[in-house]
């Protein structure tokens, strides 16, 4: 993987993660993540919309003058979201009932318009598609982690209801790690979403800070070792 592509994935997954750093699309992020499966479902849907939008926008980028670029992007995004909503209703019916309004609301997730405008409209299709996948995966991972933490703290399970999303074979993925009566209810309530996300942001920041200091300390040690030798 060449450096430019590696940079794309590093941006999407870590350095400019939509959920952790750009803080875009927080409404679905906070509202849906009461369980890991809900997070995974919305994450996959958002990932598909992001990748397909980036690809479509990049392919059509020479067709639209700057004045009408934004309306054109909005049409593309709305069309793709409606498409995915219809397909989910037809083939993942239970899950689409559970995620309810949040699938249509992917339209309003500003990550998608932001990537279309800031990246895909200036890049060739392959790079735009890859950026969409990277950003979408980054967002999906945060949804899953946030959903998983809240589900575990709130009701003591992980991946409960996985069969709704992945088919009946996935029923075995559901784990109960502690009795439901130990559940910490706050985690499932809206304040719990903010608090858990805040903790995740803090963790991300702490790791970034450490990484910034780490290379310096490493060279210092190396120097020390060199002089010692």
């Amino acid at each position: 993987m060449n450096p430019a592509r590696r940079q794309l994935w590093r941006q999407g997954l870590w350095e400019a993660n939509p959920g952790l750093v750009q803080l875009l699309g927080l409404c679905p992020l906070l509202a849906v993540t009461t369980s890991a499966v809900n997070g995974l479902g919305l994450g996959i849907a958002t990932l598909l919309v992001l990748a397909m939008t980036n690809l479509a926008v990049s392919l059509l980028r020479h067709q639209f003058r700057p004045e009408i670029r934004i309306p054109a992007f909005v049409i593309i995004i709305a069309t793709l979201v409606t498409l995915i909503d219809l397909l989910m209703q037809a083939w993942l019916h239970e899950l689409s009932v559970r995620l309810g309004i949040f699938i249509p609301l992917i339209v309003t997730n500003c990550t998608i318009l932001a990537r279309a405008e800031a990246f895909a409209s200036r890049q060739p299709p392959s790079r735009a598609l890859e950026d969409g996948l990277a950003q979408g995966l980054g967002f999906a991972l945060i949804l899953i982690v946030l959903g998983g933490v809240r589900e575990l703290l709130g009701q003591g399970t992980l991946m409960a209801g996985a069969d709704l999303l992945l088919g009946s074979w996935a029923a075995g993925l559901s784990l109960r790690l502690m009795p439901e009566s130990w559940g910490f209810l706050l985690a499932l309530l809206p304040p719990g979403a903010f608090i858990t996300l805040g903790l995740l942001l803090a963790l991300h920041q702490a790791i970034v800070q450490r990484q910034k200091q780490h290379p310096a300390s490493l060279t210092a040690t190396e120097k020390f070792q060199e002089t010692d030798a």
Partner: protein
């Protein structure tokens, strides 16, 4: 040029119109291709809910094709009433109703009753009550819903349809009085309505297409 820079030229609008048209055609095609399956899935979901509420031996008609919408004035909502028949005779009523009086919004219930309004079973289909408190109404979490079976609203039974904390005959759930009271009132309204429902209810034609709420 510099002053008219911001006016939109018609030639630049054409691609937008083309995009709109293409989007409309694509969505129309996908809608056409999925509509039947979506309807089937919806019917199947409603069927599962109805089958859970009423044993299959209680009816021999297709419930998803035999229903009417009824206004429940006490709740101010419209309920969907499925009519179960056995050998052409009235067997049971299944009322799918939504009460807006939950602690955090709507609670959707499915109430199965004898034709005279005696409750067979109550299920909670959808709610947004507080996890750990109000959500104990779910059958999977407590047996609270079971106390409705066999009861019938109305004066002749001398029952007070309220939680015992408020002088009624129903057990409550701790810290969920609003939720519990909302469910009791909704089932009460359904049972009362069924008791007073005219015979004509059973002969009214169903709307042709079953579109579940």
């Amino acid at each position: 040029m510099s002053t008219t820079r911001n006016t939109i030229r018609w030639t630049s609008v054409l691609p937008l119109a083309g995009l709109g048209l293409a989007a409309a055609l694509l969505l129309a095609a996908v809608n056409e291709g999925t509509a039947e399956r979506i309807e089937r899935e919806r019917d199947a979901r409603v069927m599962r809910e109805l089958a859970r509420a009423l044993p299959p031996e209680r009816h021999d008609n297709d419930l998803t094709r035999d229903w009417v919408d009824e206004r429940l004035d006490e709740l101010g909502t419209v309920a969907r009433v499925y009519r179960a028949r056995l050998g052409g005779q009235p067997s049971a009523l299944l009322v799918d109703l939504t009460t807006p009086r939950g602690y955090s919004g709507n609670i959707r219930l499915l109430v199965a009753m004898e034709p005279d309004g005696r409750v067979l079973r109550v299920d909670v289909l959808q709610h947004r009550e507080t996890p750990g408190l109000g959500d104990q109404i779910e059958r999977g979490r407590s047996g609270w819903l079971n106390q409705f079976a066999g009861r019938r609203a109305g004066l002749d039974d001398n029952e007070r349809w309220a939680v015992n904390k408020r002088g009624g005959d129903f057990d409550g759930l701790s810290n969920a009085t609003i939720t519990v009271q909302a469910v009791i009132e909704a089932v009460d309204a359904a049972s009362r309505w069924a008791r007073q429902a005219p015979e004509a209810l059973w002969v009214r034609p169903s709307p042709d297409e079953a579109t579940p709420p």
